[in-house]
Amino acid sequence: MAEEAVISKFPNPFPRPKTNRGWISWVMTVDHKRIGTMYGITAFVFFLVGGIEALIMRLQLARADSDLVSPEVFNQLFTMHGTTMIFLVVMPIGAAFFNWMIPLMIGARDVAFPRLNAFSYWLFLSGGLFINLSFAFNAAPNAGWFGYANLTEVPYSLGDNTTFWLIGLQLLGVASLAAAFNFIITIINLRAPGMSFMKMPVFIWMSLIVQILLVLAFPVITVALIELQFDRLYGTNFFNPVAGGEPVFWQHMFWLFGHPEVYILILPAMGIVSEVLPTFSRKPLYGYPFVVMAGASIAFMGFFVWSHHMFTVGLGPAANAAFALSTMAIAIPTGVKIFNWIGTVWGGQVRLQTPMLFSLAFVALFIVGGLSGIAHASPPTDAQQQDTYFIVAHFHYVLFGGSMFGLFAGVYYWWPKFTGKRLGETLGKWHFWLMFIGMNITFFPMHWVGLDGMPRRIFTYPADSGWETINSWSTIGAFIIALSILLFIVNYFRTWRREPTYEADPWDGRTLEWSIPSPVPVYNFKEIPTVEYLDDWWAQKYPESVNAEPRERSPGQPAPAGAEDMLPLNGQDVSSYGASSYGDDEDHGIHLPDKSYYPLIAAVGFAFFGGSLMSAWWLTLIAGFIMMFGIMGWIFEPVNDPPPEEENPGGHPEGYSAEAGH
């Protein structure tokens, strides 16, 4: 920072708190680990909410002609289930891992813009609460998670249901975009010395690809949401067929975002699996460059297949044929990944611990989802399957059997790194097997009932349709899944009570995060490591196995057990939330970004601003002030006080750069 300080003293009404304890330290944290933990916990709570919504739906559908819930409630349930699971569960659990693992795996001390990171989280939380707030007004979104116009236009959707959905999604979109800029810049700029792109762990590659997808796909949906919102609130004509607008245009915009979104949901899980399989097979990932390129080409091709969601819209034979072919083409890189995962396991030393089980199940179930996907990549069969339970079965195999299994693999895999202790193995296995069995009982029969002609999104069906038996099975399966999640929660609490073991490298891992103590010290790496090989930590541990030059272990390695700087200062206080509760910054002499209230204020102001658009104008005015106050405070608050004395290896930003992402 230049001598003539560009920032003058701002009468700061919210001086930075110095404490590292208590709720206040969480509210104003900018530590990527704490933010990651908050993402994870929040998303898990939303996961329970979305799961309960699913269970109510399954109860309703267990019997024909059931009247457990009204159609209106059912419509709200499936809309919120979809919206919640996609935007408030899978994406933020992914974000939790990005937050936690990106800096650890690339050997950085934090993300590029720590305060922007906090802003993303708070905006995500506000957006999620805002959408769910609609339940309190009995106006939960009720038009499906893709909110097809013109059902979502005013004459056919009078209440505030859809408006809640529109504004909530825009808030979540801004949160995701801010996070995406942050992660891209982190991955590009903050990698440890020597870590070239082709030495990055696959999870980092997949993260990078996901962020690029986010950056390119979310603006499209934002525009669509803005247009629909203008139609609803200000009477414009974007999707009004009477004035010449085309409801189908909404579908194009939505799926131009929506299909990349599918890869946004699955690629993080693929990245996790690509880390877990090598670790538990004690072999490197088979065909690393092919896996990376497959991920990149899936993402790239993901932008050219959107109309396969619209084969029944009547786009004409040429368009349908073209999109059918491009959709089939995307199966090729997907297949490459699966073969390489099997190739990784082949010839290894397979240890079937819980993370490995989840990863193997991911591969097994994803094959099913992929193959059923091929079935409706062909428009003639899709004409029968579109909007039936066959589709529901397909995308639950991909998103539940795929994404959720992959994410759970990550939870079990990195839990020791988060907390210093493994999640219970016995309960973990019960969790896995129940979830695996329950998942198949729930979703496999849905293929059948879909082929039997049951459309999705119906709250009831007649007794003579012959769908009842299969639906009852799905309901039983859903409760088995619920039981497995319950076991996970039990496991969580039992593990919480256990003493940490502080194993730095419990699984004999391959990547940099295992080179530092568990739980991770607040500064991550005492000294930024130098990378020479792919799977550098493995090459440090077993140089002979990969023909690597033996070298001094990187300075970040775990010290011998009992060494002073490995144990937390106050052993009992290790928070089982996953974040480390190490002593004050001064103790380690490494400079870290200071905490701040302003991201929270800006985010809440932003959410309030969005929400107030539905309401009186003076509320918008107040919300605008809060938001601007937050942003101004953010600008004027120095990144660190006092300013850093030495050069910061993390290259932390100045106020303006962080502002750019807003």
Binding site: M1, A2, E3, E4, A5, V6, I7, S8, K9, F10, P11, L177, A180, F181, I184, I185, I212, V215, L216, A217, F218, P219, V220, T222, V223, A224, I226, E227, F230, Y234, G235, T236, N237, F238, V242, A243, G244, G245, E246, F249, M253, A616, W617, W618, L621, G624, F625, M628, M632, I635, F636, E654, Y656, S657, A660, G661
Partner: protein, 253 residues
């Protein structure tokens, strides 16, 4: 910043795509040929292009550590941007008077939303430029100055929205009061701040200003695309072309 601009490309790409998809699909008038005034917009486009030139000069000056010159060109860029916004406000007002509103037909809907969002981006750019102009003063940017400027701008915005009846409950008198008060606060803040010319080491701010400049040039380029698509390509769209397109759509299945 580049990732941000990539994202913005998709954003404006989508809006422009909307405009093109809905081109000639209005079922009622006014149609573009009755309303669009290419010469006036050419002038405003020229103004915006000149602002990009000013931006280049500003960055150049700051990089060569010429504080006063740099500040002058930054303010000039902001001024040109404001003039462009003035043109746009004038144009919107004209169109309203001639009966084109976002509600009346698809052309109105797409036109106002596309150019409106661009205008909003220019506004953000102007504010950003003013902030940067403030930053390269001796004491740096005083928070109170910025607070005054932002509050003033905010009040003016509220007033304008009130006048345009976007905020329905605000009477015209109230709106004018908002605008006047905002203007007074802004001018006061500006006078207080920019009154002290001095020699100053500002080259350290060149990096930040470069980001600003990137944004400003981007907004400019987007305008060139919009100008081409909306004003040059679509200006002669009329009731006849619309009817031809609509019947073609439905005849051809």
């Amino acid at each position: 910043m580049w990732t941000f601009l990539g994202s913005e490309c998709m954003f404006f790409g989508s809006l422009i795509a909307t405009f093109l998809v809905y081109r000639n699909q209005s079922t009622t008038g006014p149609f573009p040929d009755e309303i669009i005034d290419v010469p006036i917009t050419t002038v405003s486009t020229f103004v915006l292009l000149m602002s990009s030139l000013a931006m280049v000069l500003a960055l150049n000056a700051v990089q060569r550590n010429q504080a006063n010159l740099g500040r002058f060109w930054i303010l000039m860029t902001a001024l040109l941007g404001t003039i462009f916004l003035g043109f746009q406000a004038f144009e919107f007002n004209e169109f309203f008077n001639e009966g084109l509103t976002p509600r009346v037909n698809l052309f109105g809907t797409t036109f106002f939303v596309l150019t409106g969002f661009h205008g909003a981006h220019v506004t953000v750019g102007v504010i950003w430029l003013l902030v940067m102009a403030g930053v390269i003063t001796p004491k740096g940017l005083s928070a109170w100055t910025l607070l005054g400027a932002v509050l003033g701008a905010y009040a003016i915005l509220v007033g304008i929205l009130g006048l345009l009846d976007v905020i329905r409950n605000l009477s015209d008198v109230g709106a004018v009061i908002f605008i006047a008060a905002g203007a007074v606060v802004m001018v006061a803040a500006g006078l207080k701040h920019f009154s002290i010319p001095t020699k100053l080491n500002v080259a350290s701010q060149a990096g930040n200003l470069e980001v600003t400049a990137l944004y400003w040039h981007f907004v400019d380029i987007v305008w060139i695309v919009i100008f081409t698509v909306v004003y040059l390509v679509s200006a002669n769209d009329s009731i006849e072309t619309s009817e031809a397109i609509i019947s073609g759509l439905h005849g051809g299945g």
